[in-house]
């Protein structure tokens, strides 16, 4: 028998990605929340004191500092929620079973979701940046805007894995609870909402070990705010977290495989 033709990969990836995007876009609980919540936070917390400087030794303004915080928050939020909740929900609805029976290569499926999440994350930045520019009067160099944007997108990749792991480890109903329990407190503990100095001492000691803190450092550094360690150290931390999260996600995925498809 001659080798059977398979569908070409690229059109498949394009279709799958646009479908994944529409699936998220049409769920206002996700799309509106992820696009608007960072802006709302920025409006409440950032705008009022946007023109105050962080204080010596730097003259970086709070508006810019909090923009970096919210960019990190918004992007990690998209990664964790879009993967965590949708993976858990789709497992709950047994969508994965039908997909498994189609000739869709799993890697195309995974890739399309990553592209979608990154696209959505970029979209949140496209809303947040102009808002901070207008409402928070944030003025950065072109290179700073760019550095903030790409660091925040690149640094979000470990959180894709985290979302994926949560999606495979928690049930469709518990995913939201798990994510909120993990994500919000970690965001606070990492100093994304209040400078770390205002947090309880014990948390201040713990925060350098949090992935979101490291992620935050990358953002703060991008806009010129002082950070405790070098950017390289932050990247290494994030990469290490990425490896761990990917390992957990892969383990959870295999566990599911062996339960459902063996």
């Amino acid at each position: 028998m001659s080798q059977v033709a398979r569908a070409p990969i690229w059109p498949m990836l394009v279709r799958q990605t646009s479908a994944e995007f529409l699936k998220l876009w049409r769920v206002p609980a996700f799309s509106v929340t992820s696009l608007l919540l960072p802006v709302v936070f920025y409006g409440f917390i950032g705008v009022g004191q946007a023109n105050q400087t962080l204080g010596p030794p730097t003259n970086v303004k709070f508006g810019a500092y909090f923009l970096a915080s919210m960019a990190v928050y918004a992007v990690a939020n998209v990664m964790i929620f879009s993967f965590g909740i949708s993976v858990a929900t789709e497992r709950g609805m047994k969508m994965d079973v039908l997909m498994r029976a189609t000739p869709l290569p799993p890697v195309v499926y995974l890739l399309s979701r990553c592209i979608t999440a990154l696209g959505f994350a970029a979209l949140t930045l496209a809303v947040l940046f102009p808002f901070a520019y207008v409402a928070g009067n944030v003025r950065l160099d072109a290179s700073q805007w760019f550095t903030l944007g790409y660091r925040v997108l690149l640094g979000s990749i470990p959180f894709i894995a985290l979302g994926f792991a949560i999606g495979y480890l928690s049930g469709p109903n518990s995913a939201i609870a798990v994510i909120n329990l993990v994500y919000l407190p970690t965001a606070f503990a990492s100093g994304l909402f209040f400078p770390k100095q205002l947090l309880p001492e014990i948390i201040q000691h713990a925060s350098p070990y949090l992935p979101l803190y490291r992620f935050g450092q990358l953002g703060w550094d991008a806009i010129g705010a002082p950070t405790t360690e070098s950017v390289t150290t932050d990247w290494i931390y994030l990469a290490a977290y990425g490896v761990v999260f990917f390992a957990i996600a892969a383990w959870a995925y295999r566990r599911e495989e062996s339960r459902k498809f063996s």
Partner: protein, 294 residues
């Protein structure tokens, strides 16, 4: 090369043995109905053939390949029980999505028309009724223009009219010369569609023949009536395949209800509350499985 093949396949889920040695070869162009009650092993058989499950022992092949091979899956369309699809996509979007998985899909509108969903093409999946959703699954199964179509209980939960219309759609696809493998509870579906019926019970194949041959082995009608004081002796020698007496209630399975009733009247059995229904699969199994065990 056969389209699909199980060889001495067994499957255990923990301590439950779902399949106890099934060998089945399905050739290209065949229309095969797998018939059996819940838990008989139909879905498990399909899952093995699709590579969704691995046989505990024995083997499963699709076009001579491992069923998880994407080259094999590219030739197969699937409709599964209880599988979800994204709620927030429109019918034509999800049909286009599934079409992109296959090397030579049929035109989108044709797939939608085959499922009778033309008027719902722009509706979101979540807006569809249960029956419409079932038809959408059918559209997704055929949109890749597959050589083999696997349908696991495609008409489950449909009313009689819906089932009839659905069976016609499947027949339409089969007439293109394609292979169709479907599982069903309903004898009449198997009868309408299939050239070959494979009856599965308790994880083994107990019959594999044409619908007519199967029907010959299975009583077509069930007669139920009340007859106070009736004895088994009074019912002996009737043209029935099974007799059961429970208090005053008698239940007979037969292929010739008229002759049975005539004989009963002639014997002067006082009967009331007569009810004649098509024998369902349960009845069929009473006769098939009892013969199998004998």
């Amino acid at each position: 090369m056969p389209a699909a093949e199980l060889k001495d396949a067994t499957k255990s889920y923990g301590s439950v043995q779902a399949l106890r040695g099934v060998s089945l070869t399905i050739e290209l162009g065949e229309v095969v109905a797998m018939l059996g009650p819940n838990g008989a092993g139909k879905t498990t058989s399909i899952s093995l053939l699709l590579g969704l499950r691995k046989p505990t022992t024995g083997s499963a092949r699709l076009f001579g390949l491992d069923p998880t091979d994407l080259n094999a899956r590219s030739r197969v369309g699937v409709m599964l029980q209880e599988s979800g699809i994204p709620q927030m996509l429109k019918v034509r979007e999800i049909v286009d999505l599934f079409r992109s998985y296959y090397p030579k899909p049929m035109p989108r509108d044709r797939a939608i028309a085959m499922a009778g969903l033309e008027e719902k093409a722009s509706a979101l999946v979540k807006e569809l009724s249960g029956g419409q959703r079932q038809r959408l699954y059918f559209a997704l199964a055929v949109c890749g223009d597959p050589q083999v179509l696997f349908l696991d209980e495609p008409t489950v939960g449909m009313d009689v009219e819906g089932r009839r219309a659905f069976i016609e759609r499947i027949a339409e696809f089969a007439q293109l010369g394609r292979t169709v493998v479907l599982t069903t509870h309903y004898l009449e579906e198997a009868d309408q569609l299939a050239e070959r019926v494979v009856v599965i019970d308790h994880g083994v194949i107990i019959a594999d023949a044409s619908p007519d041959q199967i029907k010959g082995q299975v009583a077509g009608k069930r007669i139920r009536f009340t007859a106070p004081g009736v004895t088994e002796a009074k019912l002996e020698g009737l043209p029935v395949t099974s007799t059961s007496v429970n208090g005053n209630t008698v239940q007979l399975l037969t292929n010739n209800p008229v002759a049975v009733l005539k004989a009963l009247f002639e014997r002067g059995v006082a009967i009331s509350d007569i009810e004649i229904t098509g024998a369902d699969l349960e009845d069929a199994f009473i006769s098939l499985t009892s013969r199998h065990q004998a």
